[in-house]
């Protein structure tokens, strides 16, 4: 074989798969928008916009017409359903290449209010060579305002518009692809009399909150861990070394009394777990065994160097501090705080939360690249995970759910996904390997959905777990539209895909091939009874809110 034949074979083999194209082309054409089995989202702009428009409607299922008044769902003449049905027909025609270009009036609904100037810029960008003769006829804000009038009022904002253009298929696609527009309608059903913008979420209604009656100032209570004067009678908890290398810090039966300035205890086997700082006995305040709920509004925990406080559950919170990791529990009746778990940090680096499990409130914590912990929201335990096997790799991603940890790694251009379960003592198994970056997306008891990113598009795969008997399950690829609570929506420009899972929304950026995910899901509130009020250098103050 010579090099010419060698490169012919290499390029033929890997550039594209002819059989796969043939097979998938037939399969893809059977749905109303183009979807391919090896990819999880449609590629053409038309199809992507269809999903962005209709995918949203299908996913959320509730549409509103924003009249700017109290009647959120209304419209004289054409109903929402009529107009959306018309939109669907429009997109069917566009996808089937069955749309006839002609001079039309188009009605635009805005995602968020725009000024005349902003709208003008957007339209210019959608039709840069002005081939459609597009011009703004009027803007809508409860009624139509002629364009000349709107143009003169630079501060006024509008929620819809009427434009005139030679409406070609390309123009409809270009306008619909704009994130600023929630709908682009033709004038066959929608008209001046029945128009009001179609929005995907209801307008926010603000109701004034009642003013709380004044409350007499009270002394904040400083609860002490119980029992404060009794030395621990139980044996110090030891850390056992299971065969898989798991270490688990057992919650102490009683809080340990030694103050923080005692010698540091390294949580190795046969050594005591680290201490929670105890308040100076001289500063103790007597705890009223039956506190008056109207007086006890805050709880203080004496702890130096606290960096962050996160609630794992309604009465359990995690503290990352300069010198360690602590889990505390608040007694719902007495409001007394006890330490559940602790780890003393020898590292120079501070601990950080790298993942939040919205279902359980559990957190995955990392200290540099040497230590990893799971702070369990349901048990209050702090599990120390042995990640020494990844010493030569880079941990690129982590997700956790219900006793299973998934870690994605990269080592010299080779990517892998590993799983570890609490049932197995947190021993890791490598389940997937690839030459492309692997990103775990969603995890449940039964399956892991992950992305394998290549070139400019992300592939989505699913890995199905057996009944906890084996990790060796068939790997199957499929085009994920909505599956097991995971859904995808691509923005009109094809630059991002919004993935909605049980752990919240994530955004896949196709340009950078990266998953953008919040490690602390801001929408998830784990405690309805307490809120963090303040972290000071010496203490934490928790506010009781109910």
């Amino acid at each position: 074989m010579n090099k010419h034949d060698f490169y012919k074979e290499i390029m033929s083999r890997y550039t594209f798969d002819e059989d796969k194209i043939l097979k998938n082309a037939k399969r893809a054409s059977s749905v109303s928008f183009l979807a391919r089995s090896s990819k999880w989202l449609p590629l053409t702009t038309a199809a992507a916009v269809f999903v962005a428009v209709f995918g949203v409607y299908m996913l959320f299922g509730t549409y509103f017409m924003n009249n700017g008044g109290d009647d959120l769902i209304s419209g004289s003449g054409a109903s929402v359903e009529d107009r959306l049905s018309n939109l669907e027909q429009l997109w069917t025609a566009i996808n089937n290449d069955d749309f006839n270009a002609q001079n039309r009036t188009l009605y635009l609904s805005f995602e968020a209010p725009l000024t005349y100037s902003q709208l003008d810029n957007i339209l210019q960008a959608a039709d840069p060579d002005d081939s459609s003769g597009l011009y703004i006829n009027a803007l809508w804000n409860g009624g139509f305002v002629p364009a000349d009038t709107a143009k003169g009022d630079t501060a006024a904002v509008y929620t819809g518009a009427k434009i005139n253009a030679h409406a070609t298929r390309d123009l409809i696609i270009a306008l619909s692809a704009r994130a600023e527009f929630s709908a682009v309608e033709l004038d066959d059903v929608t008209n001046d009399d029945n128009f009001s913008p179609i929005v995907k979420t209801p307008p926010i209604q603000v109701t004034p909150t009642p003013v709380d009656p004044p409350v007499e100032p009270v002394e904040p209570i400083t609860p002490t861990p119980t029992p404060i004067d009794t030395p621990p009678e139980t044996e110090p908890t030891t850390l056992e070394q299971p065969p898989s290398g798991e270490e688990e810090l057992e919650p102490t039966e009683e809080p340990i009394e030694e103050p923080l300035d005692e010698p540091v205890v390294d949580p190795e086997p046969e050594e005591e777990p680290e201490v929670v700082e105890e308040p100076d006995p001289e500063e103790e305040t007597e705890v009223d065994p039956e506190p008056d709920p109207t007086e006890n509004l805050t709880i203080e925990v004496e702890l130096e160097g606290a960096l962050s406080v996160n609630f794992l559950s309604d009465n359990r919170f995690l503290v990352l501090a300069e010198d360690g990791i602590y889990i505390y529990e608040i007694n719902p009746t007495t409001r007394q705080v006890s330490n559940k778990s602790a780890f003393k940090n020898e590292n120079v680096a501070y601990p950080t939360i790298i993942y939040t499990d919205a279902a359980s409130g559990s957190r995955v914590i990392k200290i540099a690249n040497t230590e990893m912990f799971i702070a369990c929201g349901t048990t209050g335990k702090l599990h120390r995970i042995d990640i020494s096997r990844f010493a030569n790799s880079v941990i690129t991603d982590v997700i956790y759910s219900n006793g299973m940890l998934v870690v994605a790694t990269e080592n010299a251009g080779q990517y892998a996904i590993h799983t570890a379960r609490e049932l197995d003592g947190w021993g890791f198994f490598k389940i997937i390997e690839s030459g492309y970056r692997l990103v775990p997306v969603s995890l449940s008891d039964k399956e892991l959905i992950y992305a394998e990113s290549s070139s400019s598009l992300g592939y989505m795969f699913r890995y199905v777990f057996a009944e906890y008997e084996s990790h060796e399950i068939d790997l199957s690829r499929f085009d994920v539209r909505v599956s097991h609570g995971v859904s995808f929506k691509r923005d009109g420009r094809g630059q991002y895909t919004i993935i909605t899972t049980n752990i919240g929304d994530m955004v896949w950026c196709h340009e950078t091939n990266a998953l953008i995910r919040d490690t602390n899901t801001p929408r998830t509130v784990f405690s309805n009874t307490y809120r963090l009020l303040e972290i000071s250098p010496e203490k934490i103050i928790i506010k009781i809110i109910s």
Partner: protein, 184 residues
């Protein structure tokens, strides 16, 4: 393509058209695409759209399937790459001399035993492909057009709107680099 038009069954017609047109359509797509790694997606979209069309409206009115598909390809490529940035047309690597190029071309024609072993090593073969495809968008296209589509370098230069020395440099530079990197 009279015999293709005589085929009544849609699946049979589609398969026949696919076989006859893939070369030309892929050539178009490769020349227009930003990266050859995107070509599979685009080709699949093109043929999916074609299949949907003939399912709905039949194919008796299609005079030239290849021309029809190239029209679809134009639309797909335009929409697909509408958002991509324009690439710079300048390149900064040194030219090879004529003598060096002749030597490289002669070496390409010589039989070498280890190349078959390399092809049998899937991981290595894929790495070699990835090295070409990810190095530079143009290089991947040049490799495909030259080695798979058997286009001459001056034809490739015309097709990609480059000058001939640019095409040659990209090709030979990559070959030489891979010789060292992968011990070819």
């Amino acid at each position: 393509m009279n015999d293709v038009r005589d085929i009544v069954d849609i699946n049979e017609y589609f398969n026949a058209v696919y076989g006859e047109t893939l070369g030309a359509v892929s050539r178009y797509v490769i020349s227009k695409c930003g990266n050859i790694l995107d070509s599979e997606d685009i080709l699949q979209n093109i043929y999916a759209r074609f299949f949907a069309r003939i399912k709905k409206k039949g194919h008796t009115d299609i005079e030239s399937p290849e021309a029809f598909l190239i029209n679809i390809a134009k639309f797909e490529c335009r929409n697909y790459f509408g958002g991509l940035k324009k690439r710079s047309k300048t390149s900064s690597f040194a030219d090879y001399t004529e003598e060096q190029m002749v030597e490289i071309e002669a070496e390409m024609a010589r039989s070498e035993r280890n190349l078959e072993d390399v092809l049998c090593n899937e991981l290595l073969a894929k790495q070699i492909f990835d090295d070409i495809a990810n190095d530079d968008a143009l290089t991947g296209k040049i490799f495909y057009m030259h080695f798979v589509l058997d286009m001459k370098l001056d034809q490739i230069a015309d097709h990609l709107d480059l000058n001939l020395s640019n095409v040659k440099n990209r090709l030979y530079r990559t070959i030489e680099r891979q010789k060292k990197k992968f011990n070819l």
